[in-house]
Symmetry: C5
Amino acid sequence: MFEKHNPEIGSRPGTLAIPPDSPFPKITVVRYDEQSVERIEIQTPSELKALHDDGRTTWVDVQGLGDEATLRAIGDAFGLHPLALENAVNVPQRAKTESYEKHQLIIARTPRIDDEGNMRTPQVCFILGEHYLLTFQERYFGFFDPIRERINAGLGAIRLRGPGYLAYALMDAMIDRYYPIVQGLSDALEELEEIVLENPHPDVLDRIRELRRKLVALRRVAWPQREALNAMLREQTTFFDEQERVYLRDTYDHIAQIAELIDSSRDMASDLAEAYLSNVSHRTNEIMKVLTLMASTFIPLTFVAGIYGMNFEYMPELRSRNGYFVVWGVMISVALGMAYYFKRRGWIGTSPPPDFESKRTEDPNQ
Amino acid sequence: MFEKHNPEIGSRPGTLAIPPDSPFPKITVVRYDEQSVERIEIQTPSELKALHDDGRTTWVDVQGLGDEATLRAIGDAFGLHPLALENAVNVPQRAKTESYEKHQLIIARTPRIDDEGNMRTPQVCFILGEHYLLTFQERYFGFFDPIRERINAGLGAIRLRGPGYLAYALMDAMIDRYYPIVQGLSDALEELEEIVLENPHPDVLDRIRELRRKLVALRRVAWPQREALNAMLREQTTFFDEQERVYLRDTYDHIAQIAELIDSSRDMASDLAEAYLSNVSHRTNEIMKVLTLMASTFIPLTFVAGIYGMNFEYMPELRSRNGYFVVWGVMISVALGMAYYFKRRGWIGTSPPPDFESKRTEDPNQ
Amino acid sequence: MFEKHNPEIGSRPGTLAIPPDSPFPKITVVRYDEQSVERIEIQTPSELKALHDDGRTTWVDVQGLGDEATLRAIGDAFGLHPLALENAVNVPQRAKTESYEKHQLIIARTPRIDDEGNMRTPQVCFILGEHYLLTFQERYFGFFDPIRERINAGLGAIRLRGPGYLAYALMDAMIDRYYPIVQGLSDALEELEEIVLENPHPDVLDRIRELRRKLVALRRVAWPQREALNAMLREQTTFFDEQERVYLRDTYDHIAQIAELIDSSRDMASDLAEAYLSNVSHRTNEIMKVLTLMASTFIPLTFVAGIYGMNFEYMPELRSRNGYFVVWGVMISVALGMAYYFKRRGWIGTSPPPDFESKRTEDPNQ
Amino acid sequence: MFEKHNPEIGSRPGTLAIPPDSPFPKITVVRYDEQSVERIEIQTPSELKALHDDGRTTWVDVQGLGDEATLRAIGDAFGLHPLALENAVNVPQRAKTESYEKHQLIIARTPRIDDEGNMRTPQVCFILGEHYLLTFQERYFGFFDPIRERINAGLGAIRLRGPGYLAYALMDAMIDRYYPIVQGLSDALEELEEIVLENPHPDVLDRIRELRRKLVALRRVAWPQREALNAMLREQTTFFDEQERVYLRDTYDHIAQIAELIDSSRDMASDLAEAYLSNVSHRTNEIMKVLTLMASTFIPLTFVAGIYGMNFEYMPELRSRNGYFVVWGVMISVALGMAYYFKRRGWIGTSPPPDFESKRTEDPNQ
Amino acid sequence: MFEKHNPEIGSRPGTLAIPPDSPFPKITVVRYDEQSVERIEIQTPSELKALHDDGRTTWVDVQGLGDEATLRAIGDAFGLHPLALENAVNVPQRAKTESYEKHQLIIARTPRIDDEGNMRTPQVCFILGEHYLLTFQERYFGFFDPIRERINAGLGAIRLRGPGYLAYALMDAMIDRYYPIVQGLSDALEELEEIVLENPHPDVLDRIRELRRKLVALRRVAWPQREALNAMLREQTTFFDEQERVYLRDTYDHIAQIAELIDSSRDMASDLAEAYLSNVSHRTNEIMKVLTLMASTFIPLTFVAGIYGMNFEYMPELRSRNGYFVVWGVMISVALGMAYYFKRRGWIGTSPPPDFESKRTEDPNQ
């Protein structure tokens, strides 16, 4: 989960630990104000310097972290604190927020199913300044396309407001991605509920464990996200104004609800695992019980047969004409007696299910 | 539990995610002051504009969320923050409270047994302004009828006070609904206490699990409710005055007590499940023990019989006239010896229950 | 545990939910100052009005809640907040404290063994005003008799101080009642410690569970009591002065210590249950092991006997004169061989208990 | 653990609950300043009055609480609050600190192995005033002898400072006593680590439980001690000055470290118990498996022998000259076939232990 | 883990408890400012006095604590508080920070694999003054070599800043050492994931336990480290300025992430242990089930054979010419009947694994 590529021990702060398989940075700039939108594909980072600080909101989206020179040039263009740049490149990290003098750093992560069907939680780093927002993504993801379209279309408040609102909108889009994935895991658990009772195949337990593992992985990502949003709401920074804070609080509610849904699904997974194990153990007990009872019934009978298989010369019963039939009678009596005894102690046959009086199906409040 | 219908990812804040099966809104307005009560059924939302802000307390109850235009019209009439309206429509959410500039949003949930006997926890959204209270319900529920009658009858303080007191009264009525449902679950658990010891049928465990699942579901609703009430008591808003806060504190005590009752019932469910499992395991052990002992007694006897069933030509015992009877004697001795040994080691028969001296039934304080 | 009798859903705040089996109120007033004590049995609540506010400390003890008119009359006489009166009557509630403008409400509960030997936790409601203290008890209990005697005798500081000190003294007496009951449960657990190892009868587990259930019930009462006392120490009310706060802190220490004793006893109960189960499982294992070994020894022997019980016409061994004895020899060798093998693998006989060098019995600090 | 001797229920605050077996008080006074030390054995408590308040630091050490008159006389001599005296005598209590107007009360407890080898946690009560320190011990313990020697020798800062520093030194000596006892328990657990794997004797589990019980008992004493020290550091009392607070913080670190060591030892005890149980269960499984396999091999063989032990007149095989040998052949084939099947399914013989590649034994940081 | 060497009980504060096997101190001083670096090997501690307080940053690295006189001389040279020196020498301690008037004490620990492959967590004590930094190491470790090289090379900010930044750089290097070790443990656990399912050898469980034990040991070191860093960030000391605090916050994030990685690995270890146990129990169940079924099939057959092995003179079946073949027929019918019954109840053969519809491998967000 956390395959980190750390800088060497004892290296200077600000050393960039670039993930080895990250592609070359692709830099897209979107600048807008109420009237206009402009989209620029940056070829050489030196072009960035000119973009800084001209009144309009400038969003620089960096996809791919594979070239240190480019990254350092971006850092220089916007005057980033060396630790901010180190954080932006360092993958993966827990969601957090960090305030520097001239900008605020936010790390957010969102779940994603990759092409092999594995769940990943790629990270986006936001660096939010007075007039600009930088976003750093490890790879070429399409998370932000809907927002880009909203900017182009000029719908809603997004063009009327600054980079704080933009950062909110992007984070909100990232957090909305949790719902369908958590819901999918929850649905998969519900599907298992029936199977657990009908077919206690070992695969079912593996499947429950796999789903729980995914939920736990999501939880590890969602909770720091929640904490980071809470910290952004509490801290009095200049990068989000009061109105944007109202929107952030809404995003906070979303992630809080997702965290809760994850927790309730995880409880459900534990309940299912428990039900599975108790079902398996009940079946094993049933087998052992029935077979032990059968064995126990035959053991004394076989003993009786053994007795009259002995070759003593003088065994009076053997000569009796009815001996054989009497022995059969004795054996059947013993078998019936034992069956009766087992029955009476409740060892054979299942007792009828109890009747639960209070299985009420009406609302007591009516 | 949380079948959410979320807006599309990346959509603008304020997008309404209307639950697909929610009926068309039915809008009922009650306006009152100390002297008079007026009840109006709104047909077109444009009528609402006129109602706003005329000194009397205006309660607008919206049942059903099935039409976006109507909802937006309500939002316009009362100048609601777009996020407030989004929250009002978004079903289900955890109980919470949120302060906007001109109104306070409160989400509350209450348990309900639907027609199929399933427990649901429908949500009501309160939007509380200076002179008005809006309530949004997903469906046509009758939760608020007793309060409506109290307003009509003019009993108690309800007509003397503003929308804050009304919001308190409605929330209190919602929280009172928990008691009989939690009590019903608790009674059902108590009923199981006897059954667990007498009839360890697998259904009993399923029943315990079902009750525990319901308790857990209630707990997930009751705890955020408790937190939300606590937040309303702590925050210094203008929508509840000092006297109404005293009443809210009382409601807080109710939900706190319900939460405690849920927790103690859940503990009881766990205890019952444990007692059930230990009872089942005790029974299985008893079966295995008795039968193993029986088998063990016959095994050496059958061996002896096997010995004298051998066909060797020269086996001196076989010729002896008393051989057969001696063998019977040996077998009976072996059986008795083993029974004695089992008895002495405490493997046969249950020891008498111990006598607990200190089973005191008197109050040591007398 | 919480058989509550709630007012109807949606009823007005201040509605009294009188416990259905509560007897008719018996009202006893004690008024005192440094010089004199007066005891009055109130027949009609209207007499109370005259008693209010004449400088002396007035203690009104109401036993039984069975008449709404009487309770309302008391509320009127002392100008109680409607919620305060509702709280006083509402049985049972968790221990808490609540400040109203002119009085402070305190709910306290104390354990009691009733005539059938069941543990109950009846509740007393204190309403503490400037010059008076009201106490409401569900039934005719004798909890407060020692304090009444101290007032009559004029011992200690009780007559020199106001209703705050009286409330402290009464609560302290209620909390002192926990000690012997918790101690009794703790003693009962200690008595079980021996029995668990000697006689693993199922009743022992039931007994442990019963004791633990009682401890859990006490815990549920003691912890809110502790919190309520803590809240009273923290809040800056006018009803307890600095000196009385010192006494309350002492009471807080008592309940904290009781809570701790309950917790340690509960841990002990869990340890005992675990020891019981491990003892039972050890015994079952012993039985199964011994018997399985015995069965395993006889199985090959019986097979050998079976071989020579076959009726083939040509079986050379059968003709041999020593065949029979050789077979006996083989059987005895096999049995000894297996016994030796079982012994060597440590399956027969228990290994000697290990010697724990460091079982030190001296204080290392000497 | 907590054999308390409480005053009667409802008795006045300040009632002394003297432990019944506590010896007669032996009072030793040490008075010192930078220049001189004086040691006085007090015979009658009236002598104490004269000692109070003459500028020098006065340490009154009371060993034994067995005489109420003496204790009251001490209380009078130093003007103690009645609750302070009650607390000093009340044994046992949790460690705590309590500030009165003119003195501060501190309860501390330290572990001690008594003459029968049982671990006890006797309590010392400190009452710290402007110029004096009172210490109350239940019995004649030697805890404080090293400090007395330091005062006599005049080493270090002890003679230069007042009763606050003396109280610190005494508490520090009490807390230092935890180390060797906790270390002893930890060593005993480490010794068990080997035994658990080699000799799964039931005594081992009992021993683990006994050690864990002791650790839990120590934890219950150490944690309140830690809290009490923390409270002393936080509160702004006049009895410890800033410099003494630095020393107290050091003592706080010691008890925090002890608490941590106790917790890690307790975890180790749980790990050992788990390892023990898994070892026992592995052994039992081994026995059952081997024996079940053996039984299963012989069951079909015995059946074959049974077939040819039947006495039908017409059984063609019996007449065949090679029948007997063919049957032997069949039996051996069946036995080998089953052995092969068991082997192939991995039921016989233990698979070789897996090879853990990454069992690295080098520091990856080199 | 905590083999402490404490001073005698009751000894004066400031007594040095020198670890018995710690080597003689080797003192290396590095002094630097922006222009120059100087490295001095101190032979006699008296040389230190001259070094103190000349404007440049002075780093005194003490490796080995084996001589009290030397340590005391260092303490005198820098005017250390006696408790600070005691803390520096006291090994091991939990990570913490402590502010004295003229210097701040920091205890940090870092994991290390020693030559025998055991994980250790040696401790470094930092004493940070206005112009100097003292570091005390128990042994001759090479932890700080990379920093020493950075000072020599003059790379980055290290030469431009004071001892606060130096302390940060050293601590950061210590905390970076956690990553590869925790990663190594995490990799080892991942390697086990396959083995657990394929080869349930008892060694696997031991290996899991060993890895978990190491993770727990690391956790016990990492968490106090995290707390200590947090305390350093919160406290307003003069030894770290605002800019250095930004760096410290980065280090705090590292240790927080390490703590999280440890926790997730520990959860993984628990999951693996659970999977191992469930795998073993599944295998045992399989063996028992197959063999019990086999035994049960042969038991009635053997009984039938026993019947016709009886030697009664008059047994009509024995005379029948087809008796033998009829008996074979009966036996085969019984065996098939039982096999059919076992099959129908699902006791023989494993049911096919269920098909999980929702095993989705696509991102629902596309």
